[in-house]
Symmetry: C2
Subunit: 217 residues, 2 copies
């Protein structure tokens, strides 16, 4: 089989799935599994970065400090490889729990180190994808979260503060609420979790439709 034929067989659009949770078996990991299965159904390839199991170190050291005077700075090999690995994907999907209403250190450190000046933004660079879907698992109830405008803040932060800054205008945040059901009771936590997984699958179904439209143009 020629390389071209192989490439032809692998011509499905690819989505890069980045996620952070310490525990396999967690609801976050179940959401990730469901997303991968749904992607397969939708004819989408997944490139997965499981930050916890990959051995990624979120601690930014000097070699990954941006040098504002030098956008051509050579960052650490790990940061460069992870930035390069995004090439060829049409979309990014990030799945994570909110801890202290924000990104876990693991994911924050990935962005600190890899989404770096001159590497994926600045100096004419941008993330090589057309869209980003952030899927955030929220322990607390929707009402409390919205009453404190935490949804607005995170949308502004992730969509405008980060995605747009990296050149991606099509960015949305989906909140999967009340995962722990301590602020709001649920009659059946298992069923509630299933509904959240279905909600996450919906993000992938919609994304697949958008990707197909984009390819057709």
């Amino acid at each position: 089989m020629t390389q071209a034929m192989e490439a032809g067989m692998k011509s499905q659009p690819r989505v890069h799935l980045i996620w952070a949770h310490p525990r396999i078996g967690s609801l976050t990991s179940k959401v990730v599994e469901a997303i991968k299965n749904e992607a397969t159904t939708q004819g989408i390839d997944i490139a997965e970065l499981d930050l916890y199991r990959s051995g990624f170190n979120p601690v930014l050291q000097s070699e990954d400090e941006p040098d504002w005077a030098n956008p051509a700075k050579i960052y650490s090999k790990e940061a460069r490889c992870l930035a390069e690995s995004l090439d060829g994907s049409v979309s990014l999907v990030l799945v994570f729990p909110l801890w202290w209403s924000s990104l876990p250190a693991m994911l924050k450190g990935y962005i600190d180190r890899v989404w770096n000046y001159g590497l994926v933004y600045g100096n004419g660079k941008s993330l090589p994808v057309s869209s980003i879907r952030w899927i955030a698992l929220v322990g607390g109830a929707k009402k409390n979260f919205e009453d404190h405008k935490k949804d607005h803040y995170l949308e502004d932060y992730l969509n405008n503060g980060i995605a747009s800054y990296c050149g991606v205008q099509d960015s949305t945040v989906t909140f999967l609420y009340n995962t722990i059901a301590f602020e709001e009771e649920t009659s059946d936590l298992g069923k509630h979790h299933e509904a959240l997984i279905t909600q996450a699958k919906g993000v992938i179904i919609d994304l697949a439709t958008e990707i197909q439209k984009e390819i057709a143009v």
Copy 2:
């Protein structure tokens, strides 16, 4: 010398200083040095946690996942030791650069792991200090930061979202702006940095005054 005599000699109020920056020689580290010197001048002991040099790992693993059904959960030894080390301090001072307009992963992970449910909040617990002073170094200019309401968000997040949640009502954020001077030129960056260091010292001078008042009550 008896233990009581020793204790008497060590009766200066103690402030816990927690900071995060990869590089000794950074402006953040200079701010920290100035704060330590000013504390000595003010008759305050400093307990220092230099997160980067201490070997702290900000990656939360399962053993530090809060168990909402069990506030008596035994967390990792590292989390427990760091939480216990705060006992005896009257105030916390945290010094850090803002990366992507938020906490570096190193500091976020410290809060994720150590300021934990049943360990420093919840179940009748609270941080054992009367006040928290957050000192954030901001690369960009004050006007841009405020125009995007990032100051308001961070104040709400750190003071209400975290400090107050851990039982500390007296919490303030001080921003040291334009550290990189790329959004706003300065005629002399060295002098500008000196002014920022003086601003940070001012936080400690004011804190010392408040601590002395509290002791006198």
